[in-house]
Amino acid sequence: MTWITALEHLPAGRPEEIGGKGAALFRLRTHRLRVPTTLCITTRAYRDFIEHAGLREKIHLELHRKVFTQMRWEEVWDASQRIRLMFLRSPMPPALERELAAAVAVTFGDAPVAVRSSAPEEDRSGHSFAGLHSSYTHLRGVAPVIQHLRMVWASLWSDAALLYRQELGLDTATSAMAVLVQSLVAGEASGILFTQDPTRPQQGIVEAVHGLNPPLVDGKISPDRWIIDARSGTPIDHTAPETRDRWQSPRDLTAADALTPLPPKLQKQPPLNESQLATLWETGRTLAEREGTPQDIEWTFCNDRLVLLQARPITAAAPSANGDSDPRAWYLSLHRSLENLLTLRQHIETDLIPGMQAAAQEMAAMDPKGFDDTALAAEIRRRWEINQRWAKVYWDDFIPFAHGMRLFGQIYNEVMQPEDPYAFMTLLKNQDLLSLQRNRALARLADGLRDHPERREALAAGGRAALDGPFRRSLEAFIRTYGDLSCTVTGAVDCIPDDATLPNLLLEMAKLPKENSPSQKEGATAELESEFFQACPLASAEDCRALLSVARASYRLRDDDNIILGAIEAQLIAAAQEGRRRAAAGSEEVAETLTELGLERDRETPSRSATTPPPLVVDRQITGQPAGPGLARGRARVIQRHADIANFKKGEIIVCDGVDPNMTFVMPLAAGIVERRGGMLIHGAIIAREYGLPCVTGVVAATDRIRTGQQITVDGYLGIVTLGETDPAATQRM
């Protein structure tokens, strides 16, 4: 097998050498159909590259740090990004690089090309998986083609491919990727043809747009749609889109993502005329007949001549992409385009957040104590419904918006190819997160205690009455804004009777020297920002700025959203707490409502009994994902329920299911973070970076395997947690 062969010189179209798409194009040529000029970069080139760069083993290690089924979607995404960066940064065999450069230069010169994935796996699986692997268009010249070749190779290990690894039979030992480099055909109309509608076998479907195909395939513009009677080949229905206003112009082949206004003349006419439609249908029908199976064809008309871009048998959709109980389709729906994220941001910032704030304020203005039993029962239900509604918004809109950070990270890594896959976070952090505002307010209160032993004594003795006026007023103002920290949500109070979380925390913080807030390094950030803008590959400088701005908003919201939602939940908690008092005093009406809504008890689960005997098997070292560089040693404080945080001591390591912004007030006291939830872009990892704390995420069953008080060491460079004594000097030698 050679590394590179022109399609027309291939002796045979073997999918294991040139992938599924390559093999399909080879067959189109043998049927004497017109296809774009194509160079096939064989699976041997992929294999020789990963062999030369030692990537096979690195990929395997990346995917086997944990039992794969225990990896959350975020961890899978992280792994795929790290692998992608390996492909971008690793050296290529010099002979392969020379051969590629020569072949691309001779075949295409400086003409625009597309670099497309052609995975043998996809073809073998018998299912169609849209969007598993990457393809890129509008590339010119050798260097961009080779860089995108690396990205297409890496997409063999995309998060989507990893999620469907079983269906694909993805295996580091055997899997490989072929790539097609094709001339970009400047078609005046393009689209998709199904020679058979999967749900109505008597019909075929044609979808067409003016200009090039990618915006149709990516769902960015709506096509004209024809239904064809399969027997007679005559169109029986035509549906025009609501508007034909944008296109990817065949006259401007400079940027892949540029959509421009469609010339007014073309807006009024369908992309295909009757004769083109007939030619297209007849070509597709003949091909389906020769292949013996209905075909899904991408095509374009260039100078009125039909060119087939690719064809594949119509297969069933991926078995679990049908949206049933398989969450993978949902995960993948979280991938958003910049355009989509910009719209979402607008919606979040102008409608949703103000709406949530207004809802919280409206409820806060009404004291539940003032209602009679009937009105209170109704109010609890109303607040529950409001809370449900906004919780849904959180999932539907806020969670997808978190992709803003990911999209930015992906593009940043593409062009900057940094050693650290998370270097991009430097450009996102140091923002004024709501939780950091609260933590600063807390630090100011601690400042007020540090030099006043009498205040510390009064606070330790309990009861605010003994505090001097000014300090008491500051403390009460804090509680009004942020709650008393006894609840899982910011802004609520009295979740634990006689709670001393806030006093305990303040007394611990007062032991710290002043100023332990996240550092600000403006200079380095500005330099990195300008480097990124210079390298940014998007169509315009405006898009690059929009991307960074969306990423920053996404980063901020990832932390702020829980606090904003918490303000609403705090009002539900306040009403439910009053309800529980009434129910205890005998109000059946209120009791029934609480039971119906599942609010009869505080939702916190009890702590594990401290009297359990030590187990025979104990962990010594547990691996997770490195999420905040550094090495820290200290006693573990395991947070099984929010109340466990009340006794947090300076220098402890927080061990929890997931750090959320409602517990980050202990971060100034913490030496490190261990978290069950995995991912580099989750709250825990974000806050660890803000405070410069060593952090390991994705530690399976962390809160069960580690005990409060146990000595642990967090290696945030390697993602390892060591339980039990370690050499204290080891952490100092760093």
Partner: protein, 156 residues
């Protein structure tokens, strides 16, 4: 399966499937490592091996009974880094003497029948490592410790 059981099972699997381990002893001149053919009691609480009395390892054990035995399933392939598992047994070694000797030697030879002559040689000694704990390493850096509760131990 609870973690305790999976760890125990992983340790027992290694003991069952591997024949050789690297024995570490400490002598006057410092640490020493040697390859031994071992057998394990059914519950994994004891590990046995046979050695000539004249060996350096036996001299070391006589002077200092604390030993470690490393058993692993690596296949000398880069994939070992994530696929191989290794267990280190830490315990106290001593020579087995009658009346247990015949029974234990029978167990040992059931695992290594080709060592019949060796195991019966008057110049050899059958050594019992009473395991205090196992340290299991899997997937490159996952380490757990399995402590043996000998007070519940009825096998010998």
């Amino acid at each position: 399966m609870p973690q305790e059981e999976t760890t125990r099972q992983a340790v027992l699997d290694l003991l069952r499937h591997q024949q050789l381990g690297v024995l570490s002893t400490v002598g006057e001149k410092g640490p020493y490592a040697s390859l031994v053919a071992f057998a394990a009691s059914g519950d994994g609480h004891h590990l046995y091996f046979v050695t000539p009395r004249t060996t350096r390892k036996f001299a070391n054990i006589t002077a200092n009974a604390a030993v470690a035995l490393l058993i692993n399933n690596s296949i000398n392939d880069p994939e070992d880094f994530h696929q191989a598992a290794a267990v280190t047994a830490v315990g106290i070694a001593e020579a087995v003497s009658p009346p247990e000797l015949d029974h234990v030697r029978g167990q040992y030879l059931a695992r290594h029948p080709y060592l019949e002559d060796f195991a019966h040689s008057p110049s050899c000694v059958l050594v019992d490592i009473r395991v205090d704990r196992y340290i299991l390493v899997e997937r490159f850096q996952n380490v757990s410790e399995y402590r043996i509760a000998h007070d519940l131990d009825h096998s010998a």
